[in-house]
């Protein structure tokens, strides 16, 4: 039972980095970015390839940040300069990345079981599972602090306004195209970093590991908002991390009660649907109640 709990917290933390990226595009920029399903395995692929090729695990964890940023920039350029709708721009990059990821890895799957990773390096001095939790918490806190700082800077505020009211911020002299590209770059950098850490954590990179990632990220963001609220940026970013951990616990619980791992995507989708439609259902019920009493 304790093991089950710890494993979920570990996963919740490492996937929280991805969810924070989704939060930045989905909530701050108001941009539904599907690039995530491609940039997550991109990070894993680059990390796995670099580790098996003998690069230092730290480099193999940080280079994916740049790769992910590039993926985000491409989606951003397709959307702003190519005038492709946001959803389609993300799908195009994601689809292209599937081939690119296979090219990077040279095969559909790279195992990392006997390789040296940031995790094996870290756990040589600290016993497991503390090493994992410490390493992932450290990364998550770093990302959260970065966002909490960045979103209150002049550029960060312009980025928030771009998602909130593009007409207004353009009339105040901000290039909204540049802001969208910047936001997508940062977001996908985090997503790729998360992919790189997940690959090292689970011991392999796989071309298929990005499927449904955007929905898992969304689920974390929404669960966080429901549980913690989103009064201000620091609240909202912390809520995403909490949401990610709760989401992983819920998934582990679903497995524990007998669902198959192949059912998980369906469960996740249902979770997001319920969370997104609850306000609507509530308002319909309220209207009906008002009608029946009047």
């Amino acid at each position: 039972m304790v093991g089950f709990f710890i494993a979920s917290v570990e996963q919740g933390l490492v996937y929280a980095i991805m969810a924070l990226g989704v939060y930045l595009t989905f909530r701050i920029l108001d941009f539904p970015d599907l690039t995530v399903d491609g940039s997550f395995p991109l990070g894993a692929a680059v990390a796995a390839k670099m580790i098996t090729d003998g690069y230092s695990p730290l480099a193999a964890t940080l280079v994916p940040l740049l790769c992910g940023a590039c993926a985000g920039i491409i989606t951003g350029i397709l959307h702003t300069k190519g005038r492709i709708t946001g959803l389609l721009a993300g799908i195009l990059t994601m689809t292209a990345l599937y081939s690119i990821n296979l090219r990077i890895m040279g095969r559909p799957n790279i195992p990392l079981l006997r390789e040296e990773t940031v995790i094996t390096q870290f756990s040589s001095s600290i016993p497991q599972p503390f090493a994992n939790i410490l390493l992932f918490s450290f990364s998550v806190v770093l990302i959260v602090l970065f966002l909490d700082w960045f979103l209150y800077t002049e550029i960060g505020m312009a980025l928030r306004a771009t998602g909130d009211n593009p007409y207004m911020i353009r009339s105040l002299g901000v290039n909204t195209d540049a802001m969208k590209i910047l936001g997508l770059a940062i977001s996908n950098a985090f997503v790729s970093l998360s992919g790189a850490l997940v690959a090292q954590h689970q011991g392999f990179a796989d071309a298929q590991m990005g499927i449904g990632m955007i929905i898992a990220g969304l689920a974390s963001v929404i669960i966080g908002e429901v549980v913690c609220g989103a009064k201000s940026i620091p609240f909202a970013t912390a809520a995403v991390v909490v949401g990610s951990v709760i989401y992983r616990l819920a998934i582990a619980l679903a497995l524990l009660v007998g669902f198959r791992s192949s059912d998980l995507k369906l469960i996740t989708a249902l979770l997001v649907i319920i969370a997104l439609t609850t306000p609507r259902v509530k308002s319909i019920l309220n209207i009906n109640r008002a009608k029946s009493t009047s």
Binding site: Y152, M157, D164, R170, S171, L172, G173, N175
Partner: protein, 265 residues
């Protein structure tokens, strides 16, 4: 100051929906001019403001501000020296950001935005003073989200934001049309005061003839993409709404039919 020369704007060129919104329009504003723009629906009033602001590119002609050609600059670059207030009070402010954050965004207009904190202590003091001058109690709501404010409060904020960094040109696009009469009157007073205090060169579109005659020092009337009437300060002073309608009918040789303009106040 602002020199618009032979500007033509055609929408949906070479399609069945082709429409000439501005037809060879020329207009000159001197430093400190406050020009009101009237005309019926579809006359090209908003298009005129939008081509100056860079929302639409022009098909031919030139737009010069202080001798510099600006018609090729993108909207966000022109925004560094042009202040704008829209008709929709929701359009000028970021709803999920706080009052002080909105003002800080306006404060950075025309400057390079970097990684400094978005709001400094000095800014906050200035915001408080400026908001106090509005007399709407907004100085006590610095950290409230703008979505909690009323339409009138938001429009007052937008006027303040458009002029917080003194613009070379202020564009007002029917900025009181969506407000109730009492609030509209307040915004008109506020606009007059801010324009006068800063000696701003201003172009204001309005549907309201009364407003067009009482505000500003010049008046132009647009019809079907052309300026059909231009009044200077002296001509304007002696005009009544009825004279204006008569003038319109004389120029156009047709009956003036728009209740909204006559009845609005």
């Amino acid at each position: 100051m602002l020199v618009i020369k032979n500007v033509t704007k055609i929408f949906n060129k070479n399609t069945v929906n082709q429409k000439t919104a501005l037809n060879n329009v020329s207009l000159t504003l001197e430093e400190g001019d406050f020009v009101t723009v009237i005309g019926s629906n579809g006359a090209g009033k908003s298009t005129l403001l939008n081509v100056i602001a860079g929302v639409y590119s022009i098909d031919s002609g030139s737009i010069k501000l202080n001798e510099n050609e600006i018609s090729m600059l993108p909207e966000h670059k022109r925004a560094s020296f042009i202040g704008r207030v829209f008709q929709d009070p929701m359009k000028g402010t970021a709803p999920s950001m706080t009052v002080e954050e909105n003002l800080a965004l306006a404060m950075a207009r025309g400057k390079r935005r970097g990684l400094r904190w978005g709001i400094s202590k000095k800014d906050r003091k200035l915001f408080k003073e400026k908001l106090e001058a509005l007399g709407l109690g907004l100085e006590k709501q610095l950290t409230n989200k703008v979505e909690l404010l009323s339409g009138g409060q938001r429009q007052a904020m937008t006027v303040l934001m458009a002029t917080l960094v003194k613009p070379k040109l202020l564009l007002l696009d029917e900025h009181t049309a969506a407000l109730d009469p009492k609030t509209a009157k307040k915004i008109v007073e506020l606009t007059n005061r801010i324009v006068k205090e800063n000696n701003l060169t201003t172009l204001m579109v309005t549907h309201n003839m009364e407003q067009a005659l009482t505000m500003g020092n010049k008046l132009i009337m647009l019809h079907e993409g052309q300026i059909i009437l231009e009044l200077d300060e002296n001509q304007k002073r002696n005009m009544t709404v009825m004279d204006l309608i008569e003038e319109f009918e004389k120029v156009r040789g047709e009956k003036f039919v728009e209740d909204r303009v006559v009845l609005a106040n």
